[in-house]
């Protein structure tokens, strides 16, 4: 039983790391650009599918993990510069609808290119198999995933706190108008932010592919989870999004042990508890 619990907790941690990555991406876009990115889920799916194709064509799993998020960034740049940019002054209704439309379009393009049937992307031989941790035998890829995602989160944290651009992004979340007043070209900042958000979504998608497989609906399924991460974290809080993502993953892992049917509902139970006891979110200010 303890083995089961520990391995489920590790599974939950891995999931949580992925949720944290997508959740932070969404938080950045929500916070800096002040738009609800409904295309975030399909960017995640796109990352996974591109990684699948690149890995199959080039034969290199690592190259796929490197390239596919960058291609997703390219898609993000196109979305931002061609559509979202025109809508900054419009109401949330229209931003939402535009991104919803983009989500539908990309979703259908994925089905047209890759077909409605799911795939699985196998981890390379160097990462497959299991590791004996002494007290538990655990799949190697999942372990690497946890470490790598943790590494990425640390990198992101350093980027946001130690670099100039990171400081601008954080300032943008705090007070967008003030950033404009200080003479910073917000258009460029918005473009980079959207790109960074898209990168995190694409990366999480690519990383998730060997664990969860690829299905055309994966983008539609992850999106509500991203939004729950944001709600639990409190709008615009990046450390909050990381912790909320990990918490949600862990609770899902725990639910798999005791209530296997409720793994998807437990996410919303978490959200419900949060808004009852702390309506501003765990790390929300207001």
């Amino acid at each position: 039983m303890t083995f089961l619990i520990i391995s489920q907790i590790l599974n939950g941690l891995g999931l949580g790391m992925l949720y944290a990555l997508v959740g932070v991406g969404l938080t950045l876009i929500l916070g800096v650009l002040n738009i609800p990115n409904f295309a975030h889920g399909v960017l995640y799916a796109l990352g996974a599918y591109l990684a699948f194709t690149i890995a199959n064509v080039t034969g290199s799993f690592y190259f796929a993990m490197f390239l596919s998020p960058l291609l997703v960034v390219l898609v993000g740049f196109i979305l931002e510069s061609q559509g979202v940019r025109r809508l900054y002054h419009a109401h949330h209704d229209y931003q939402l609808l535009f991104l919803f439309a983009c989500a539908l379009i990309i979703q259908e393009i994925i089905i047209i290119i890759w077909g409605p049937i799911g795939f699985s992307l196998l981890a390379p031989p160097s990462l497959s198999g299991a590791v004996d941790l002494g007290f538990l035998i655990y799949p190697k890829y999942r372990l690497v995933l946890i470490c790598f995602a943790f590494f990425m989160i640390v990198c992101l944290y350093l980027f946001l706190t130690k670099t100039n651009l990171g400081a601008i992004l954080r300032a943008g979340i705090e007070n967008r108008d003030m950033v404009k007043v200080l003479g910073i070209n917000v258009n460029v900042v918005f473009l980079y932010t959207f790109g960074l958000g898209a990168y995190l979504a694409g990366l999480a998608g690519a990383l998730s592919a060997p664990i969860m497989g690829l299905t055309p609906s994966m983008g539609l399924d992850i999106l509500p989870i991203c939004f729950v991460v944001v709600v639990v974290a409190g709008l615009g809080s990046i450390p909050g999004a990381i912790i909320a993502g990990i918490l949600i993953g862990l609770s899902q892992g725990a639910a798999t042990i005791w209530f296997p049917e409720a793994t998807n509902v437990v996410i919303y139970v978490m959200m419900g508890l949060t808004i009852i006891f702390r309506p501003q979110g765990l790390f929300g200010v207001r």
Binding site: L30, N34, P36, F38, G83, R86, L87, A90, H91, H92, D93, Y94, L96, L97, F98, F100, A101, C102, A103, L104, I105, Q107, E108, I109, I111, I112, L220, L223, P224, F227, V228, V230, V231, L235, E261, A262, N264, V265, Y268, M271, G272, I275, I276, P279
Partner: protein
């Protein structure tokens, strides 16, 4: 005056509609007409964007479907399902209206998906992924004609009720909140309370529509409660135009007609709908009703101009 004309147009549409569209399509249009017009109370009049209206539509459809399956009569199933979505809307609205803007969107969206998963997991009751099947229409509305008349009467009832709300002082308060919420607070209105009222009016009527929806295809597919449906509802409302009371209905007719047409031609029809959504948002933000209004104005100003020119000519001649 303008409203009088649009109501006459509505009555004409109710009579002509069944000849233009197949029975299932026109009844679906009327049912989603209720949804869009009531959503507009919240979206257009009060200025609140909820991304979770499918929650109320679907839940109410499940309740009325289950009651009909359980042998309850229709005239009991519809009010109880509507009441059900009213109660749920008060509960969810209580938490959601505390927050504004993006947070409100996130919350309603997440609640929507919460109910979706409950419907998905609770297979014994809701039928899970297959949806709730085998609901039968009562004998007295079983023919196409009687079913249409029944839907049309319910539709008219809902539209008149919503119109009364919009033109009442309550409707003015909603507009006040949209224009300037802090002013409304300063005058002494409890903004949260009125937002909750607006939210639950929209949700209750959406629920009413949901309870009627079961009757069209004798089933509740699970995607009626999925968040994609909420997106469709928002689109229908905006596509028609939130500037006028009956505008959203134009959006519904357009949306359902387009999706029906495209879904026959190509299995990947949501792609085309997505492109249309994007074009509407980028170029025709006011929706169809504003487009028509602008064309009408342009036509008027052209005819006025020619009149004016003729006047000038006449004076010159004299």
């Amino acid at each position: 005056m303008k409203n009088k004309y649009s109501f006459i147009a509505l009555i004409i549409f109710l009579f002509v509609g069944p000849f233009l569209f197949p029975n299932a399509t026109i009844t679906e249009m009327l049912i989603f007409g209720i949804v869009a017009i009531s959503t507009n109370i919240m979206l257009g009049y009060t200025g609140m964007l909820s991304f979770g209206q499918a929650l109320f539509f679907g839940t109410s459809a499940y309740i009325s479907g289950l009651m009909l399956l359980g042998g309850f009569p229709l005239f009991l199933a519809i009010p109880i399902a509507t009441l059900g979505s009213f109660v749920i809307s008060l509960f969810i609205g209580y938490f959601c209206v505390k927050r504004e803007g993006l947070y409100f969107i996130c919350l309603t969206f997440a609640f929507n998906q919460m109910f979706y998963f409950i419907a998905y997991v609770w297979t014994e009751v809701t039928g899970g992924e297959d949806g709730l099947v085998g609901v039968e229409r009562p004998a007295y509305i079983d023919t196409q004609l009687t079913f249409y008349i029944f839907t049309a009467v319910m539709f008219l009832f809902a539209v008149i009720a919503l119109y009364k709300i919009v033109t009442s002082p309550l409707g003015l308060i909603f507009k006040l909140i949209r224009e300037n919420a802090s002013r409304a607070e300063a005058i002494g209105y409890n903004v949260r309370f009125y937002k909750l009222i607006s939210f639950s009016i929209a949700s209750t009527f959406t629920g009413l529509a949901g309870s009627l929806y079961v009757l069209i295809h004798s089933m509740v597919p699970i995607d009626q409660i999925h968040w994609l449906k909420s997106g469709d509802i928002i689109f229908m409302t905006l596509f028609g135009g939130v500037g006028s009371f009956l505008g959203p209905l134009i959006g519904v007719v357009g949306y359902i007609w387009l999706s029906d047409t495209f879904s026959i031609i190509w299995a990947r029809w949501p792609l085309i709908m997505g492109v249309i959504f994007a074009i509407v948002v980028l170029y025709f933000r006011g929706g169809v009703s504003e487009l028509l209004e602008n064309l009408f104005k342009k036509y008027k100003s052209i005819s006025r101009k020619t009149e004016h020119e003729q006047d000038i000519k006449n004076t010159k001649l004299n």
